[in-house]
Point group: D2
């Protein structure tokens, strides 16, 4: 509801520019008595960290998080948690030539038009570096979920990179963290690597599609009409830099289905309702069904490429822009841990909202 | 931020169940001194009204709106506006058999699980009837936009219904309001009509995709990072019943693009920046560029069909469900004016937020 | 956070003008499964209703509430509740002469300056009639509290009217509802009645002070730093028409106390901490202690009096204003049920917020 | 609306504990293009800084603020501003004995009950040290006000300390900043100093009352019904540690007035309405009149005194508590710059909200 704040009961506000002294997240609404350490958060940040493979920017940031408040003797206290990451590898000189020029496809021009003044170094506030703060906030959400909803598991992975698509028949969750693409198919990693090498050598970049799976989410989360679980997940993902679409369950493909195809039939299982399919992606009427929640989104190719593009500058002159610096040929890769973080925040937020309103009680079946 | 409230500065809260005495919207944050009448709002409601063609539910509701507050002598006063629509054609007996049974693909089961108690008549709160209240609120937004941003124009239309796709080479905005499908291609209406007749005769329903175009939106609307214009548009559309995906600009197709393809190059036009393409859909970094804004979303087929589906009831018994009553074979049709209403609310909300923060000043080019 | 909305988790938005067709409250965030009826709400409204004694306005409004949504078969469903009260006794002609003139001490001039247009009839939106909507919303809160916090009891009463003060040594809660002043001292009613008769005969009005006691509130409600329980109670009371001050516990008198006097010492009682005094008014650090919560506020005398006062009109002319119509000589009287309603909303809101964050768990003593 | 966030459009979230590594404020909704420097903010912090006279705690904190984001080349960019103050003089050992004991009149016991775990060092989150973050946020508000509403001036001062009252006939604004009491009467400083010396020597503390005057505020700020200007000022002041009452204009004294006394009569002045008195304290119907706004509040005596008080500890044992450490004998003194900061934030927030809704247009008189 506020410009730099995400969430309702569990809320975080991010701050910081790409090349300022630091960035971070102020996290509020955290339940007390939850174990939380810098090491725990760091594990999540390390998954997103640049420079870990040849396929991500060579900017080398340790992205070391510090907890400045809200945790005492290893436990959350219920007060606001400040998470700070210092910027240690800002090479501002790389970016001097974009002080007054606008990269096509980039937020340079819209920040200029809206605010009149902007920190142009490294994209300033519009840099994907902001997503480190999201990952830190998401780690807090994961810690709370581990304490109060231990069965929930949030898994992100790539399903498309440019012309390449995941072969879903080969889906293997165990492979995800063993390759630089968060790809659930170990056998395809070589081809994906070659493909992206080609993109980079062409001085180009490429888009991607990411999927996030939330397993173990209980039924009943989501607050219709305007705080539906899918509404908030859509907002969460769309707020990530470069995202251009969000799908739940069948997504855009639902437009082609008939009612008989689409309905997820229900039988009684040992523990309650058992759905025979999951076209809905785990959400009906904005409320979780208890099935796996599936969210998918696209990431556009980064606009920071070394191939010259026609543009203008703040003086109204027509120019050609070549973006030097250290940019990811596929920013979608590092969006995976970011999306997991956002999903964790949404699930926790809705868990807190639900226990506010219903006290956690559930309607009975049988 | 609240369950039944949408918006930040321009906000509306909807209330009402499908078969209760009335439904409506409480609209707040409305600028004063704007001409507004029941007739003006009614024109928008009439576009969404059921029973206007054989392709929508035969439920006959006049959907007559009353303004109960916030307007004096034909002008908004700046106080909260209550818009009420009485329900006059509730045939509750049609729905008695679903009091304890759950339609597959419908919110019946999730409302039951979350709340324990629900108004099952006609889907109660989860009925698409709630969208009438959105349309009424959107009409207020349209009135305000007409007063303070008169160049903006919001146009919704169908681009897909099941197996049928709009031929974009034949796009004709003038045709949209002359056919029951909001289809911008007069020549295709016959085929779409036959197709939907077939669906209905098969006791089935079908999905759809809708596109909304916002023309004349000035640059600078949108408040990064978490109140981005596209974030709020995504939330707005995803909150509509049965929506399963939202796309901005290239949408999911962005995943397949390269950076050279995707970047919208810029030249100087007579009135400032002139973009040579619009892959971005009019939004960069969450802020409007001044180009047309394009939003697209899918609507799943309604789950209320007369073909029997396997399900369970609240007693835990396995049953077959046949949904009688008067249901649209393609709920996507009536989603068009709903989506326009949501877009109008988002644009106005961001206009107000922007003038709060920046006072409406813009960075200069040239 | 919004203009016409009060509350965080349990929220209500009021709408309606004094002489419009109706007014009401849209209540959101209500827990499901709570018994609620129009009769229950009506009992609260009847306590505030005008025309019940010679000491309140002779405007005769039945103030009959209708529940239009959110309740099904006598139970809350968790969806938004619309409460509507139709205006049946609007004598607009009484107010015609104030269309362009400004009553000194009244909101006429500030509404005019801010909005340019206003419904001047009966004060429009700034009329104390708006408080009927608060009372209706408060009744919903009371219903929920009765279900989930049955020990809580909220009692309002007058402690001052102009020159007259309650003799606290004679405090008798049982007397409150047996006299038109909500005065907890039956023996003083005659003197208060004579005093107010004199005020009215002098064509004057008089201020008042009200106290609200919340008994049975558990410890732990309140969310520091900016959603402290006392902060929200202060906002709740200050938002009531004509309120000029709010005190918690010792209130302004705390300025004169020393630390030794002010500290509420603690011993162990049979059920936990037992405080030896209650200077704090039941709240420490913004969180309830478990003691009685005491809130006190002043109400200024109504500015609508028949004694001529110097003023101006919208044409910039200097005039004398005499306010005819049917006004209370002491609006403070009817503020008592309003204040109880606001207190009920705050307590419930914090109860929901607390169970969101802490799950209702409490730190142990002993 | 959130636990640690204050404000609607101009919002700040504070974080940090008394003895943690740092504390600060995350400020959001700041208009772009406003000059802002650490030096400017520091001037406000220095007024609140402890250790500047014998009458405040001898804790020696330089309270040096750092701007970590949102300002570029000396100008606000419209993005979130992080203000950090490192804690450099934490003597945790002073507080070890209160790890499990509860000071009477202090938030120790309520934090324990609510959260189960708390940072007990120096009061942790409930320490008045949090107010440094408010002052920093308030300085940002002052910078913005200087840019867009340059005539506004916010002046705080003490009007009471225990048994001593300001003699208003001797009010001299010029004296306020020349004495350690923020007292607008230079001649009384000696007596106040002697009085407070006596309190401290008695191992005691004392309450105070503070007044804040907002001069030059234009008419039209305030958003009835639930975001009234006085409502938000009341919440702002009541949220400050140890505040027990807030008054606007006549405050509690309004209860004793008659309508003829209380009405502020109006004549035409050279620039529009001229009020002949200001009982209202500059606010009618929740909207500013253009007169001086007057807010007054009480501060209770600090509960951290060296005189033994009866209490209990977390083990349920009855104990005596003597609070060592370095505490202010009158915390009200340092509340003056804090209250000014809160008033600045409220005025700016309402200025932004007003220009969102009305575009800054005003109704005409004459």
């Amino acid at each position: 509801m506020s410009y730099n704040t995400f969430g309702r009961m569990f809320r975080f506000t991010t701050w910081g520019e790409s090349h300022g002294p630091a960035l971070g997240a102020t996290v509020d609404g955290v339940p007390p008595g939850v174990p939380l350490s810098e090491d725990f958060i760091q594990r999540f940040l390390d998954r997103r960290r640049p420079g870990t493979s040849k396929h991500t920017t060579q900017r080398r940031e340790p992205d070391q998080v510090r907890i400045l408040s809200g945790v005492f003797e290893g436990m959350t206290t219920g007060t606001s948690i400040q998470l700070m990451i210092e910027n240690t590898d800002q090479r501002s000189k790389d970016y001097g030539d974009i002080a007054t020029s606008f990269r096509p496809g980039h937020a340079d021009i819209t920040y200029h038009l809206k605010y009149g003044v902007r920190d142009y170094r490294g994209g300033g506030r519009s840099s994907a570096r902001e997503t480190a703060a999201r990952v830190a906030a998401g780690a807090v959400a994961q810690a709370v979920l581990a304490a109060i909803l231990p069965d929930v598991r949030i898994i992100g992975y790539m399903v498309q990179m440019g012309a390449l698509h995941l072969d879903r028949s080969r889906f293997d969750a165990a492979a995800i963290n063993d390759n630089p693409f968060f790809l659930p198919d170990a056998a395809a990693v070589g081809a994906w690597s070659d493909y992206l090498d080609g993109i980079r050598k062409d001085q180009n970049s490429v888009g991607a599609a990411i999927e996030v799976l939330v397993q173990g989410c209980p039924p009943g989360l989501g607050a219709p009409i305007y705080a539906k679980l899918d509404t908030d997940l859509a907002a969460a993902m769309m707020s990530i830099n470069a995202v251009k679409a969000v799908e739940i369950g069948e997504g855009m493909a639902a437009a082609a289905l008939t009612g008989t195809d689409n309905a997820d039939e229900i039988r009684m299982g040992p523990d309650g309702p058992a759905f025979l399919s999951n076209h809905a992606g785990g959400i009906l009427g904005g409320i979780s069904t208890g099935q796996d929640i599936t969210v998918r989104f696209s990431i556009k190719p980064t606009s920071s490429i070394t191939t010259p593009r026609r543009s203008i500058n703040a003086h109204g002159e027509e120019i050609e822009v070549i973006t030097k610096g250290r940019h990811d040929p596929c920013v979608g890769i590092r969006a995976v841990p970011v999306a997991e973080a956002m999903a964790a925040c949404v699930i926790l937020d809705h868990l807190l909202m639900d226990r506010a309103q219903t006290g956690g009680r559930r309607g009975q079946i049988g």
